[in-house]
């Protein structure tokens, strides 16, 4: 499979997970069989991880509270940061965990139902972990853009309906 074709398939699926494989085939001028095979391979290799939906929870009727937590940890002999990262990312309320360069080690994104739940997570689950040295919690007040998509006010199509 060419890297170019793979990239084209991935970018179409990243834009719309519900796009029909037929349509991908037409748009990329390829046989449907080839597209099916490519997607299959990408799924097997774990390049395509899952087909999700980007939700703007700020607009949904059940709200969610998001927080970013800077975590300083002591790395463990033989495991570096991986073991401690795993202890954190296995909590289902954790949306993402990144190992960072700079003044702290792990950036943990949390999405839960309430402010209290954030507090509870930090004091009862995160802080008590042995190798966690310190935490700094930042609440997200408003999401403007998520995963490359503007959530704020999308730019409107201002074009006239018919132009030459």
């Amino acid at each position: 499979m060419s890297a170019k074709l793979e990239h084209a398939v991935l970018s179409l699926l990243e834009e719309n997970a519900r796009i029909e494989l037929d349509q991908i085939a037409t748009m990329l001028d390829e046989d449907k069989e080839i597209i099916i095979q490519i997607v299959d391979e990408l799924e097997k290799k774990g390049v395509i991880v899952k087909y999700g939906t980007l939700i703007n929870w700020q607009k949904a009727s059940t709200k969610k509270v998001a927080a970013l937590i800077d975590v300083k940890v002591t790395p463990q002999r033989g495991h570096g940061f991986d073991a401690i990262a795993k202890r954190i990312y296995l909590f289902p309320e954790v949306r993402s965990v990144y190992l960072m360069s700079g003044s702290y080690d792990l950036s943990v994104a949390l999405e839960v139902d309430s402010m209290e739940a954030v507090g509870k997570f930090v004091t009862e689950k995160l802080a008590p972990i042995d190798s966690v040295v310190s935490t700094m919690t930042h609440f997200v007040m408003k999401k403007y853009k998520e995963d490359g998509v503007i959530l704020d006010e999308p730019e409107k199509d201002e074009r006239l309906v018919i132009t030459p």
Binding site: L12, N16, Q23, T26, M27, L28, D29, E155, D157, R159, L160, V161, I162, T163, P164
Partner: protein
């Protein structure tokens, strides 16, 4: 006092644009999905907009030189050289209010009363009126669907008279999406040289081709002398509202055009000139990304029309498909009107772009994938309904 009689007959006798008439109808259907828009659905890339904003913040609010900002002209020269192997001097390029002004300047500079200008059709709606306004006689040269709407030198030869002065070429073409590659252009080049004609080459869609790279007719040996190259930023960089374009021509022509521009336009907007420079310097990757999106939509639309049994040649450039709707038994105006009223999809009847566009419709695929998909579904439903309406002939 009859104010209308005060107006010039050339203007009075000019029919209002066919697009305009249809526009009012479409406006009465606010929920319509429009495939009638001749401009990108993308918004100008942010770094280009940002360059414009920053120039305003720096207080750049003055006129520029008539010809345009020297830095922009320099950038355009490099761009033309590297993209299309065209060599123009600093004095041979001028910044205009879009390709639109450039077309008008070229025509007004060339035309003496009675001059004939060959206009291959279907074509962009401004050419014929602009020729008339300049006092010339437009001579339509029909191109045909069987040839993928490519221009044939035989058709030009048939239209040639001693009064022929110039030809307006527009490839990639609005509304047909046709292109002219090197082999297609070669006989036209010979014809132009033989009869010492001028080509006004509107290459505004030059960045939007879907197979081979665009060939400019000015890049043929000896053709720079015969060519007024018109282009701009509207289509390639999604900058229609900025009203900025340019014209490049051999010095003797450029000097004359500059005089008209100097007295009628003074100069193009400085904000837009700054943004246009940013577009050429750093915007080509985005331009490519937009072109690749158009390309994918193009295949989708062509397939949809072919699946409906329409004759639809594959457009190789711009962002239009121009299928024949003859198989529906409707003429283009009825088709477009009924489609709008019954299914709320707007397309443009092809004869708006000239007689040879009759029985075709122009659909722009500069439309988001979702809207495009929905519009195609509705068109399919509409066409199937028409088929059922057609009288059934009983044999026997």
């Amino acid at each position: 006092m009859n104010l209308e009689e005060k107006c010039s007959p050339i203007v009075r006798n000019m029919p209002p644009s066919g697009i305009r008439r249809f526009f009012d109808l479409v406006n009465s259907k606010p929920d319509a999905i429009s495939l009638g828009v001749g401009e990108p659905d993308f918004i100008t890339p942010w770094h280009i907009r940002e360059a414009g904003v920053a120039s305003l913040e720096r207080g750049m609010t003055s006129y520029t030189s008539n010809q345009g900002m020297p830095e922009l002209i320099e950038t355009i020269r490099h761009y033309l050289q590297s993209q299309f192997t065209l060599s123009y001097e600093q004095t041979e390029v001028m910044i205009t209010f879009g390709a639109s002004e450039a077309i008008d300047l070229a025509l007004r500079t060339l035309i003496c009363p009675g001059d004939e200008i060959l206009v291959p059709e279907p074509c962009y709606v401004s050419y014929i009126p602009c020729v008339q306004l300049a006092g010339g006689n437009p001579v339509p040269v029909p191109t045909k669907a069987d040839h993928g709407f490519k221009l044939k030198v035989e058709d030009l030869e048939r239209a040639l008279t001693p009064n022929t002065k110039a030809i307006i070429l527009c490839y990639p073409n609005n509304p047909t999406g046709a292109i002219m590659n090197k082999e297609d252009l070669a006989p036209i080049v010979e014809f132009v040289k033989k009869h010492e004609l001028i080509v006004i080459s509107d290459e505004i869609y030059g960045e939007l081709t879907y197979g081979n790279k665009h060939t400019s007719i000015a890049s043929f040996p000896g053709m720079k002398e015969h060519t007024i190259l018109v282009s701009g930023f509207s289509k390639a960089f999604a900058m229609t509202g900025w009203r900025v374009g340019y014209v490049a021509a051999p010095l003797p022509l450029a000097q004359q055009m500059l005089k008209i521009h100097q007295y009628t336009a003074l100069c193009a907007s400085i904000t837009s000139q700054v943004a246009a420079r940013e577009a050429l310097l750093h915007g080509l990757p985005e331009c490519e990304a937009m072109a690749s999106q158009y390309d994918r939509r193009r295949r989708l639309v062509v397939k949809a029309f072919q699946d409906l049994g329409f004759t639809c040649h594959e457009p190789q450039g711009a962002f239009y498909v121009f299928p024949s709707i003859e198989s529906t038994g409707l003429d283009a105006h009825t088709f477009a009107e009924q489609l709008l009223l019954e299914e709320s999809v707007a397309v443009v009847p092809g004869d708006v772009f000239g007689q040879s566009g009759t029985d075709h419709i122009r659909c722009s695929y500069a439309t988001s994938l979702e809207s495009l998909g929905e519009a195609l579904n509705r068109i399919e439903r509409f066409v199937k309904k028409q088929k059922n309406k057609q009288p059934i002939h009983h044999h026997g």
